[in-house]
Amino acid sequence: MDSSTLFGIATIGYILAMVSYIVYLAFRNRTVGIIATTVTVVSFIAHTGAFFMRWYEGYVMGLRSLWHPPISNLYESIIFFIWCLILGYLIIEIKYKNRSFGAFVTPIAGLALAFIEMTGMSKEIEPLVPALQSNWLLAHVTMSFISYSLFGLSFATAIMYLIEKTEKKTEPAYIFWSVSLGVLIVLLIAMSLDYLEFHVAATSSENIKNYLFRATFKSPNPTVALLSWIASFAIIATVWATGGYLKKIVSAFNVTPELLDELTYKTVAIGFPIFTLGGLIFGAIWADQAWGVYWSWDPKETWSLITWFVYAFFLHARLMRGWRGKRAAIVSVIGFVAVVFTYLGVNLLLSGLHSYGSLS
């Protein structure tokens, strides 16, 4: 068996787990819950095995040293992100004896896996370019992704909190979460349409820049482009209008808003120091070793600084000004948007030194 077979098993497992958690959420059947947890644990073990196997395969092929784990291109980093996310989720499930988050966390993993398939990014084990051949790779990338995953968990609990705690449709917090969720859905649909329209997957980051949203917003046919915008507003409006159902579902969880608020803070409080040290400081030291500049205001660096400022804002607002609840949750959602942009947006839309994170 090779690593890609095992990854395949884990992928199918995570999708099954996602379905089971959602079914569990709907029917609150204990057996389904146990099945969901079992499937997740088994997939996680397969995933772990695949990770180490890929590490070993890269070594045997002579492309990487044993110091270089498979976390050096976009595909590998997303796979590693999912691994951290599921690990973090399993810890929370065991510690708080609550399965309900599963229905919110496994879809993030599912979306990430779908993103890999939709963009058709390269899954090959690639040799490391000279700049990446550093022992800092291990510390910098693993710690960055552990913090990204923690921020992802914080995002999930914050969104749940907002859904549960907002009452009126005219309330700013309600508008905020419904529009955020609506935009997310619109983006996913637009990207799926791109994929269906062009079939061929993007082979390079240049390529995806050319075809991203070509089936919808940037269509050469102005009618299609106009319709896309109208449809987007319709979708966002629908999410806004029907948010009450989501609230019913989330309220059916046995999670108190206080626990959600607590988790939102705790995951940030652990993620922030890891991100500062692993993402910013180790990144700067590595850049200093490789290029002779520890900070060059390259887009990736700048965006991670922006992310850092958002979470610093979150912590100061909470600890110094007593921001809790809705306001804190909104900041946490914004923080994760910045994380996603640092991670994907910079590589897909902007250019810079970190170009090996691209799709090719």
Partner: protein
């Protein structure tokens, strides 16, 4: 002090001490930074005009560019207003920390005092247990239980048949936030020192040449190094037979006052440091002048081997024979097309090849391409071998040259930040009091405790301690 009694200095102090200012600065720095990631910094104007055209349309773009340019957005991270924001941020950080430090310092250094056993104040964590032993015999067990939990308890004397044990730990963790703030200031100081006293430059050094200057990145002006650096060789290593570079390497030698003082091979993640300067492998390229040396290791049919160095057009003799090889052509990157013709696919030395004609007593014997990366091509029909080692003296290594006396301060700041963050987020200030008094058939132990962070974890620890105690006694 009433608002109007405040002096000007007080007002300025208050302005910088406010968390509101911090929040405004966080937002301003974050939001303006976004602009600089969309507009490519220090790029040729045309590039950004194209970006602006896409965002704003044909008509507005040139005007928008002019406005943005005059506001410094084309090099915004060094513009006066962005630097002002950073300076304000630093001042805010310093004043905010100074403002709150005395109170926190007191909390961190205050020794823990015994409680009034009759009227203990309310605490978030409280427990009561009765143990079947008189207070004095319990003392030892309680002390060791506290020590096991990580405390070094203080002892109060016996009073009305009872006593108190009390302890605290992690009190210094209260300073974690300030250490983190301090580290940001240290890093900024290091960066400023680097800007004012550092040098950032480059040096393109051909194989075999030396230089005692590097060129500034800003204005390309030469900058005296105070020593001489020579490039002995440059080489690219590839993965297998592919064109994926595995390693860029330069062999450098440093001379000071005419004497060799250092010799080192550098790679991308492995720079050379000498005399306060650091030389990084940044780029490479081919000289347009040509005229290098071909280096071969030649082995005759009888196994005798020698190394020869020749220039284009020169000849060498295979040891032990009368066969003479003449260098006719060179290609930096040889490829064979489908119809069998050879051509050069790139100007870089990706697949260096040399065309040699062999003659014996003036009569042509055989001829062909010898490729550096393909050992199969080194073998000649008569069993001798011509290994193509290098075409030396035609490539240059591109070195990034930097002197940054502030970098060690930045590193120090990073270490301090690691310590500060650890203290601030993963340690907590925990206090515990055990008040022991006589009860009917034994002693009553009342536990009071508090933690400034992660209270549930502390509570669990105390529960374990209590249940262990009950079992032991």
């Amino acid at each position: 002090m009433a608002e109007r009694d405040k002096t000007f200095v007080d007002r300025i102090w208050d302005f910088f001490a406010s968390v509101k200012l911090a929040v405004v600065l966080f937002s301003l720095i974050a939001l303006t930074s976004i602009v600089g990631t969309v507009i490519e910094q220090n790029a040729p104007p045309e590039k950004n005009i194209i970006v602006l055209k896409r965002l704003l349309g044909e008509r507005l773009a040139p005007e928008a560019y002019r406005v943005l340019d005059s506001l410094g957005f084309m090099d915004m991270y060094h513009s006066w207003w962005f630097v002002t924001l950073l300076v304000l941020f630093a001042m805010n950080l310093i004043v905010c920390s100074l403002e709150r430090l005395p109170r926190i310092w007191r909390l961190a250094t205050e020794p823990i005092k015994p409680l009034n056993p009759d009227k203990p104040p309310s605490f978030p964590i409280r427990k009561e247990i009765t143990l079947k032993a008189d207070p004095e015999t319990l003392r030892k067990a309680l002390i060791s239980a506290l020590k096991k939990t990580g405390f070094r308890p203080m002892n109060s004397p016996m009073q009305k048949g009872g006593f108190q044990l009390y302890a605290q730990k992690g009190n210094w963790s209260r300073l974690g936030v300030y250490i983190t703030h301090l580290s940001i200031i240290i890093i900024m100081v290091g960066a400023v020192i680097g800007i004012f006293f550092g040098f950032n430059g480059f040096l393109n050094l051909p194989e075999g040449r030396s230089s005692d200057v590097a060129y500034s990145r800003k204005d390309s002006r030469p900058h005296q190094l105070g020593f001489t650096i020579r490039c002995d060789d440059f080489d690219v290593e590839f993965y297998g037979m592919s064109d994926m570079p595995k390693d860029y390497r330069s062999w450098l030698t440093v001379f000071k006052d005419g004497k060799e003082v250092m010799r080192k091979m550098i790679e991308v993640n492995e720079p050379l440091r000498y005399g306060g300067y650091t030389f990084y492998q940044a780029s490479y390229g081919m000289l347009s002048t040509g005229g290098g040396y071909f280096i071969f290791r030649v082995r005759g049919p009888d196994g005798k081997t020698e190394t020869v160095t020749k220039i284009m057009g020169e000849s060498f003799v295979i040891p032990g024979t009368k066969i003479k090889g003449t260098i006719k052509k060179f290609s930096p990157a040889l490829a064979v097309s489908q119809d069998g013709r050879t051509y050069t696919y790139t100007e870089m030395m990706n697949n260096p090849a040399v065309y040699i004609e062999f003659t014996e007593k003036g009569k042509p014997k055989y001829s062909g391409w010898i490729l550096k990366r393909y050992p199969k091509t080194w073998r000649l029909p008569d069993g001798s071998m011509v290994q193509f080692i290098d075409y030396w003296g035609v490539q240059y290594t591109g070195l990034q040259v930097r002197k940054d006396p502030g970098v060690w301060i930045v590193y120090l700041g990073c270490i301090v930040m690691g310590i500060g963050l650890y203290m601030a987020f993963f340690m907590s200030h925990r206090k515990i009091w055990l008040i022991v008094s006589e009860a009917k058939d034994g002693s009553l132990v009342r536990v009071f405790a508090t933690a400034n962070k992660n209270r549930p974890a502390f509570e669990r620890k105390i529960e374990t301690m209590v249940s262990n105690l009950t079992e032991e006694v």
